[in-house]
Amino acid sequence: MNTEQVTWRNKVGLAEMLKGGVIMDVTTPEQAIIAEKAGAAAVMALERVPADIRQQGGVARMSDPKVIKEIMEAVTIPVMAKSRIGHFVEAQILEAIGVDFVDESEVLTPADEEHHIWKHDFKVPFVCGATNLGEALRRIAEGAAMIRSKGEAGTGNVVEAVRHLRSILRDVRKVAAAPDDELPAIAKELGAPLELVKEVKERGKLPVPLFAAGGVATPADAALLMQLGAEAVFVGSGIFKSGNPEKRARAIVLAVQHYDDPKLLAEISEDLGEPMVGINVSTMPDEERLAVRGW
């Protein structure tokens, strides 16, 4: 039998399997179990959620492998974990533990100011953040099997995720409508490989699934990103920094399943307790912004 281990199709395939789902940040096995019970399609295992990383400052690194392993043992759904941008040894360690997806994340302090991880060298699939189409295609060229908006994690403010999604999808539509002879100039302008620009034109979408992340605090936020064209939603601090995590987690899962049904969304949004306290991104000093990390 001709067998091949962890192909590109296996990597992108797992991303496809998470579509229509919610991926929740968790810091303990107990939170992971709450997330799984609420209907999370996967969990992101962390030591601190982005809101706490923001507040506490300092260098944010990969989580303690022990924390990640405990979370992996607690649930049966896929477990993701974050490495710093460019820190391929953190990624090697996460792969060695056996996590299902690595998020090369701007939420942690970047380890390399020039280079992202060369993700093709890994068996484990990667998700990377992007603010526009060029950035998304550069990450895919390096081997990312899933793209997410960067948003401003830990703010409870969805405005940046909306900006990034709109920007990526606007440029996808532009590429899809462009004649072939204009693709090289578009590729140059985007700073992206021509082959991937061609693929965007053929498919009318990114070559890998596009998920939304950053600042999701309510079921309506999640449904907004889905209506804009995201294929699934990451929720970070929004759940376990809220008044009633169980209820809110469940509501966001249901809202993603029926994102285009306002009547149902109204029912789902009722009586969820206090949402996380938000931060206004436009008054935030530049050095605190995460979206500018990575290139």
Binding site: E4, Q5, N10, G13, L14, E16, M17, G20, A41
Partner: protein, 202 residues
């Protein structure tokens, strides 16, 4: 006379929904998303896609589709599950969530994540009974395998002696993802099963 297209639904809460819709259309069926019990009306077959079995099963229960689909199956409907979908068709689930909601219409045991985690995912050329021509390129992602003891369940394919495709009356289960390749032979087989004369056992 123009032959009517088979109408096949795809359970559309979570997972590889669009891939199945596209594969079914390309295989010559009319493919429709299913989110509510009323969506089952007029369908000859239903596909439960890959995704997370805990999420899809829970959604089916929440939105009333689990009971409705069981009734629809009793009336003769055909179901095709891939990976997570196949797990939900099994009467027994190993390594699942306790009390995981399921359809339970195929008498076999699904060993969830039986081939391991994502770093153990693989592709293989396999022979599938009932599929003519060359081997089928099968994509396995955190895949389950099946333990079959009921003689009425027909084993269609195995990898390392682990059952990865099985048929029971008008129902079809695969541990791999035919919707992720361009090979339509398994979708065609299911469309034939859903529109053919064979009945469900029991």
């Amino acid at each position: 006379m123009v032959k009517l297209k088979a109408r096949i639904g795809v359970v559309a809460y979570q997972g590889a929904v669009s891939e199945h819709l596209r594969a079914l259309e390309r295989a010559g069926a009319e493919a429709l998303p299913v989110k509510w019990p009323r969506d089952l009306e007029g369908l000859q077959g239903v596909v439960i896609p890959g995704g997370e079995s805990t999420v899809i099963g829970d959604a089916m229960q929440t939105w009333g589709l689990l009971d409705a689909l069981r009734e629809w199956v009793r009336d003769g409907g055909a179901v095709f599950g891939t990976c997570a979908g196949a797990i939900l068709m099994a009467t027994e689930i190993k390594n699942g969530k306790p009390d995981q909601p399921r359809l339970g219409i195929m008498p076999l045991t699904a060993n969830r994540n039986g081939f391991g985690r994502q770093v153990d995912s693989f592709e293989a050329d396999i022979c599938v009974r009932g599929i003519e021509g060359s081997a089928f390129r099968a994509v396995f992602i955190r895949a389950p395998y099946f333990e079959v003891t009921d003689p009425e369940v027909e084993v269609l394919a195995a990898v390392d002696h682990k059952v990865v495709a099985a048929r029971y009356g008008r129902h079809l289960a695969t541990a791999f993802h035919p919707e992720l390749t361009d090979d339509l032979r398994i979708h065609r087989l299911f469309i034939e099963m859903a529109t053919g004369g064979q009945k469900n056992p029991g």
